[in-house]
């Protein structure tokens, strides 16, 4: 009914698609370089920079702290995101649309300004350069994504199912846990994934809120980008990228399987 797109338009799609994906992939061959300098195409292939990366305590500490921060941010964002979505969709109170605007705002406000503000607040509270501080800051920008994903699921859900459970004697928490939560699980999963990758990649807030001891992987990469360009940077970049892609693929796989199992 719409007709096939013209060959010109399809060629355009191929060009744009290639330009979207290809440039980033350059870091993968670079990470396998045998030379001491970052170069493309790499001169010789080796795993020497991977060995270097995994033997370096600075990189390893950063990986560990990044994982901790991202995991905690995800849990906090999911809890807060589900509560907010339920409250905003099912609750009845004045100022609801204003609250919705407030909840979504962190996604669009200049992060540099938020980072400076949090830097002041954290200095007063003496939590500058703490993992807890980083987790809270990441949650500010990660949990609106959970909120969006969960509220989309909630709106698509048949609420009479939950009322049926209630009429059969389930209390609200039990009905939520056994009826609603399984139904909105795909939304929760998508939201959790967004939250994890947001924290895992976050740089600006982390630059301001980290310390020489507590710093995430992107912060160490940032410091390296500006000082020395060793191929371990390409290794870090490759690992950061692969982690995210594996997570996205896993989530997509789970989503597809769910469809098959529950038609």
């Amino acid at each position: 009914m719409r007709g096939k797109p013209s060959p010109g338009l399809r060629a355009y799609g191929v060009v744009v698609g290639t330009l979207l994906i290809l440039p980033t992939l350059v870091v993968i061959p670079m990470s396998f370089s045998a030379s001491e300098f970052l170069s493309f195409p790499p001169k010789g292939l080796s795993l020497v920079w991977y060995r270097e990366f995994f033997a370096d305590p600075v990189w390893m500490a950063a990986v560990g702290q990044s994982l901790q921060v991202a995991a905690c941010t995800t849990v906090l964002s999911v809890v807060l995101g589900i509560m907010t979505a339920l409250g905003l969709i099912r609750g009845r109170f004045r100022g609801k649309s204003a609250l919705q605007v407030l909840v979504l705002s962190p996604m669009i406000m200049p992060l540099v300004v938020l980072a400076v503000g949090l830097f002041f607040v954290y200095s007063d509270w003496r939590i500058l350069g703490s993992l807890g501080g980083l987790i809270l800051a990441h949650t500010v920008i990660a949990y609106p994504l959970v909120y969006i994903a969960v509220s989309t699921s909630l709106q698509g859900m048949d609420q009479t199912l939950e009322q049926a459970a209630a009429s059969l004697g389930a209390n609200r928490w039990y009905a939520f846990r056994t009826v609603t939560l399984p139904l909105i699980a795909p939304g929760v999963l998508t939201g959790a994934l967004f939250a994890f990758t947001t924290s895992w990649d976050e740089l600006i807030l982390s630059i301001f809120l980290s310390s020489p001891i507590v710093k995430t992987l992107p912060v160490v990469m940032w410091q390296q980008v500006q000082t020395e360009l060793s191929p371990t940077l390409a290794v870090a970049a490759t690992l950061v990228m692969v982690t995210t892609i594996v997570l996205v693929a896993a989530a997509a796989w789970v989503a597809t399987r769910r469809k098959v199992v529950q038609p």
């Binding site: 609750g91 979504l104 200049p110 950061v240």
Partner: protein, 307 residues
């Protein structure tokens, strides 16, 4: 993978209707069940959380900008030409990025609209993948291509096309390439969503009344995608204003954006007052454009791309 894109897209089409009916849908069960208002309590943790970790930081920044040492911090925009120029650079960059993203995204979204569902899924994935890849990694990868000794320049030099390396980064061109690349999804999705809302019978109807393909596209299809174009442009423009990583790595140090000056003042100069003042100017610009935008499209649609 395509599944994930589909999840996003299906959201894109029904969200507008869904949000429009939210109040009605939520009100009904609350009436049926006496304890229904208990749901209200669930928003309190978020409210407290955002008050302390989102509103308070902005308030603190505003306070610092007028007390450390005084409101004279703002005078820097008159006294030092670097700051006035940065204001222009910030605007210009945001404008260039918005226009180039629009020019690239519109035909791409149109291709998605015309494609089979499977192909549209693949095209969605191609736009979404960079979105999932770390901004720092993507920007760093661009430096590999664009720098003086980068892939493009070396290739062109070897082929004898050019005699001296082309300045592809450390200027507006580099920033525009990097930022357009990462902001493209925010332009593609709202436009695509607005295209999907158009009844597929409209353009054939115009053609059956004698309009040529191009005329039907221009007078029927294009105007109906205006909401998507507006909200896409708005979010790309507003997000561009505050971008930091890409201009810092691909831009010219002599022509910094406001965000770079803020980082410089706070991190290097330890001038918290001046840094805060620039921050508040950047925040005010963002809010003004968002406010103007909400006159035309809803805030939720700006932020979520009509999802």
């Amino acid at each position: 993978m395509a599944e994930l894109g589909e999840v996003d897209m299906s959201g894109a089409t029904n969200a507008t209707n869904a949000t429009a009916t939210t109040t009605g849908a939520a009100a009904a069960p609350a009436r049926r069940r006496p304890g229904g208002t208990g749901w209200n309590l669930l928003v309190w943790p978020a409210l407290v959380f955002l008050a302390v970790l989102f509103l308070l930081p902005f308030f603190q920044t505003a306070l610092r900008s007028v007390t450390d040492p005084g409101p004279a911090n703002y005078a820097i925009f008159w006294t030092d030409p670097v700051y006035a120029r940065s204001l222009v650079t910030t605007f210009l960059t945001a404008l260039v990025v918005t226009v180039s993203a629009l020019l690239i995204a519109y035909p791409y979204a149109y291709l998605m609209y015309r494609s089979t569902p499977v192909m549209a899924g693949v095209l969605t994935l191609l736009v979404i993948l960079p979105f999932f890849t770390s901004l720092l990694v993507r920007t760093y990868a661009w430096t590999v291509w664009l720098q003086q000794t980068g892939v493009i320049n070396s290739a062109l030099l070897d082929l004898g096309v050019i005699d001296a390396p082309l300045p592809l980064m450390r200027n507006l061109l580099g920033v525009a390439i990097g930022m357009t690349h990462s902001l493209l999804p925010f332009m593609v999705f709202p436009i695509y969503a607005s295209m999907r809302r158009i009844s597929p019978a409209l353009v054939p109807a115009a053609r059956s009344l004698g309009a040529t393909g191009a005329f039907a596209f221009r007078t029927v299809f294009l105007p109906l995608t205006a909401p998507g174009v507006i909200s896409g442009s708005l979010i790309v423009f507003v997000m561009s204003l505050g971008y930091y990583v890409t201009p810092a790595l691909l831009g010219s140090p002599n022509n910094a954006m406001l965000s770079e000056l803020i980082v410089n003042q706070v991190e290097q100069q330890v001038e918290f007052g001046i840094g805060s003042a620039i921050g508040i100017v950047l925040l005010a610009l963002t809010l003004v454009f968002l406010f103007l935008g909400t006159r035309v499209v809803r805030f939720k649609d700006i932020v979520t791309g009509g999802r």
